[in-house]
Amino acid sequence: MDVSRPDSNLPKFIYWILKRLYVLNQRDGYLGDIEEEYREKRTAIGKRKAGIWLRQRAFQEIPRTVAYHLIWGIEMFKNYLMIAFRNIKKHISYSIINVFSFTIALSCSMLILLYIQSELRYDDYHENAQNIYRVLREYPGESSLINSSEHPLAATLKNDFPEVIRATRIKKNDEIGIVEYQSEVFNEEAIYFVDQDFLNMFTFPALSGDPNSALIQPFSVVLTQNMAQKYFGTDPPVGKTLRIQEWYSDRKRDYTVMAVVENVPSHSHFTFDFLISYNTLYSLKRGGRESVETWAYFEPKTYIQLDASADSDDLESKFPNFLTKHKRREPDSEWLRLQRLTDIHLGGNMQFELERNSHSQVITLFSVVSLLIVIIAGLNYINLSVARSTKRAMEVGMRKVLGAIKPQLFRQFMSESLIIAMIALVFSLLLVGVLLPGFSSFVNRDLTFNILDNPGFILLFLGLALTIGLFSGIYPSLFISSFRPIQIMKRSLIVGSKKQTSLRGVLLTVQFIISIVMMVCSLTIQRQVTFIRNQDLGFDKEHILTVYTMDRNLSQNPDVLKQQLLSHPEILGVSTSLDLPTTIRRYMSVEYDDQGLDLDFGTSFTFIDYDFLSVYGIGVVDGRNFAKEFTTDDQYSLLINESAAAKFGLTSPVGIRVHMEGRDWTVIGVIEDFHYKSLHWEIEPSVFLLNTNRGLDYFSIKIGSNDISGTIAFIREQWKQFSDGYPFEYTFLDSRIDQRYQAEDKLEQSIRVLTLLAITIACLGLIGLVSFIAEHKKKEIGIRKVLGADVKRMIVLISKDLMKCLILALLIASPIGYFVMENWLKKFAYRTSIGIDLFILSAAVTFIIAFLTIGHQIMKAARTNPVETIKYE
């Protein structure tokens, strides 16, 4: 009979408060006494006064009780801690397994979170970041947007739209290159041409000089701190001049250093060493100002800053009119779009990005993987705890008999899992601290983690650990604390109970699935990367030194240097060309109309010399190479590759005449196809022209493998002789090529590591689980042994269940793995196949590991003297 109705004795509200004030279940004594006294008072002094008394008392006591519960709570907490520690020590090997897998899971998550955070905060250091946009072009029918614009766009936007308060162009340097100050001479590449608004829009704090006026005059240059250090040491650079030479002429001009700014942070989508005023281009380009400020072609990127109150969509809607007005465009033939500055980095790579961007997909991928690892660790914990529960059943039963109640027990077991999570947190903080530098350089980011700077992160990690502990602990704690003493005493709880085994089976299967999928992915990615690396690119890439020169004298008269070089025994070939096999990027169109064919297609092209094909080992499959005997080769002859030849569809295109760039050329030979782009792309048609006097900038030197450093020293010597005053900088061709696949390389490595981790954790879980089962079945094994059973048969018996899980896992994992990998391999034009053998391999590895684990544990159990195990009864 409960009393909580308003017209009866205790007002409902008070009743509720009183109940809350006193947590322990003391309904009878506590609430009963209150009710009794209340009734006495009611009859004595009347309902109203009694009610007042009650309310007064209840409210007065609230603060005191709250304080009491706090203190009491801390006591209880200390108690739980003590008990939890004791329990953890008792089952130390299980605890170690759990701590270990939690630590790994937490560390992974932490590292990945740090990485994600660095990715997400790209470009956020600019004060105006929220209002800066990049202007992109979109064309009907094209799915991807283009990031380059015409030169006059920025200023015109600023003129026409009051909400565009600042605008700048950013143009990557193509015009100048050798920077000189006193005796320091260096090739510099990270030069941007920008407008004067650049330093006002973007936040690059000035260390000296005035950023507002730094880029107004032509031939002004702004240095970064690193560059100031490099050229001027400790001298103040502002006011001094740097002499910079142009690429294609000998002209050197003086540039005045107007300011020095801080180095560009690593989390920027563009980075530079030098900024030069845009109007300098008017003097550098042959056509002067008109050739720059024209709407005729696209080159720079345009960035604008909007007024804080302006809306970007609003502005975008005004663009069609703008386009019609200035470019006389047909409506809907071209659109301008605005891209937020902060979206650029994760927006994927458009052609000719300033720097390599990332893709939000990568972030998703890593998040998913780390989540999977966390899940595996959590599943481990659940599995182990539930399996161990019968062992602890006695303990639970005793406690219950002694008056412990379910919430208490629940809290106690939860605190165990939370404590394990906390211990893991401490270890993982240490681990992350150790791994962070290595990880930072691996992902090329600045990932320092200063505890004082990032209090938010500590909370995040703490929250992460607590969440893991919480979720892993809920089910086992609920399960264990709900044991009823009678069940335990009657030994009616069996490890092999239907519900338990099937739950264990499900958890195990999920772990297997995750492991198999990750293994398959990792193996496939590895296979693809090896495939790409070993793919014959069609030209020799080993031991080829490449040197770029801007010395026009040298490039126009390379023969003497060539002869000198070839006199060295270890130098096997020297060639000059406009492009290396990896840098071919110019295009033009070829027309052919003869014999009924009317072709007009685009090809890439470059200029080479007589020795190019032999240095690179590219074979001639039809016709001939350029040769000195044919004196008109450099005016009319053309080499084409197999893909180009295929376009003509003739038995042999040698001898045909084609039209290119306003002139007629004769095809004299067909050479083997080779990959000059990365293997993501198909080979395009390509033509090669001979040039003996124009000046070809790349030297390709094939060297032998003996005494490489000696050979290089020799080459450097020669360079000094023939091209003094120009820096000698070389790269090996194969390292250039490797650079291309850096992203894939890193991906492969990360996936491999993560897979290994996932499998390790899953294995540990398996070990723990199996050893527990084996131990529990010690009795059974002992008895069977006495009865003469064969150890091997027992192993088979116990592993039958696990096999079922494994097979089920394989069935589910296969389509998942296939689907994921198929998607990834689609990116490559040249790819391996997804081998069935990989699936089988993964399953086999998983099975073997599982089998060994089980076998080992069972052997251990079987080896114990049956007398020991049965004696316990």
Partner: protein, 110 residues
């Protein structure tokens, strides 16, 4: 033997005095008589719990009554440890107050 707080001591004395009528409402009234202070049930029950945990008292249920809304009474009684604790407290008190009269508390007493 752990020391008793003042309130614990008073509560235990009240239980001794009340003999077998020592339950919540009565104890509250007795404590009120003894100390002049009125404590509310949550404080008292907190003290009961403390004492139970220290092993000085035990509780048992009595009859359910309608005037308590159908809830049972909870009676408390001393344990041997509890009696010992009171004895000790009594001894300690005697030693401290030995020979002191109200007179001697006045100033100037030699």
């Amino acid at each position: 033997m752990k020391e008793l707080t003042k309130l614990e001591e008073v509560v235990m004395i009240a239980i001794v005095r009340l003999k077998d009528t020592a339950y919540g409402v009565n104890i509250k009234k007795e404590v009120h008589i003894l100390t002049g202070k009125e404590y509310f049930y949550n404080t008292l029950y907190t003290t009961f719990d403390q004492l139970i945990r220290k092993g000085f008292i035990t509780k048992h249920f009595g009859e359910a009554e309608s005037k308590r809304g159908g809830k049972r009474k909870v009676y408390f009684q001393m344990t041997r440890d509890g009696r010992e604790a009171l004895e000790e407290a009594f001894d300690r008190q005697s030693r401290v107050w030995d020979g002191i009269t109200k007179q001697s508390l006045k100033k100037g007493w030699t």
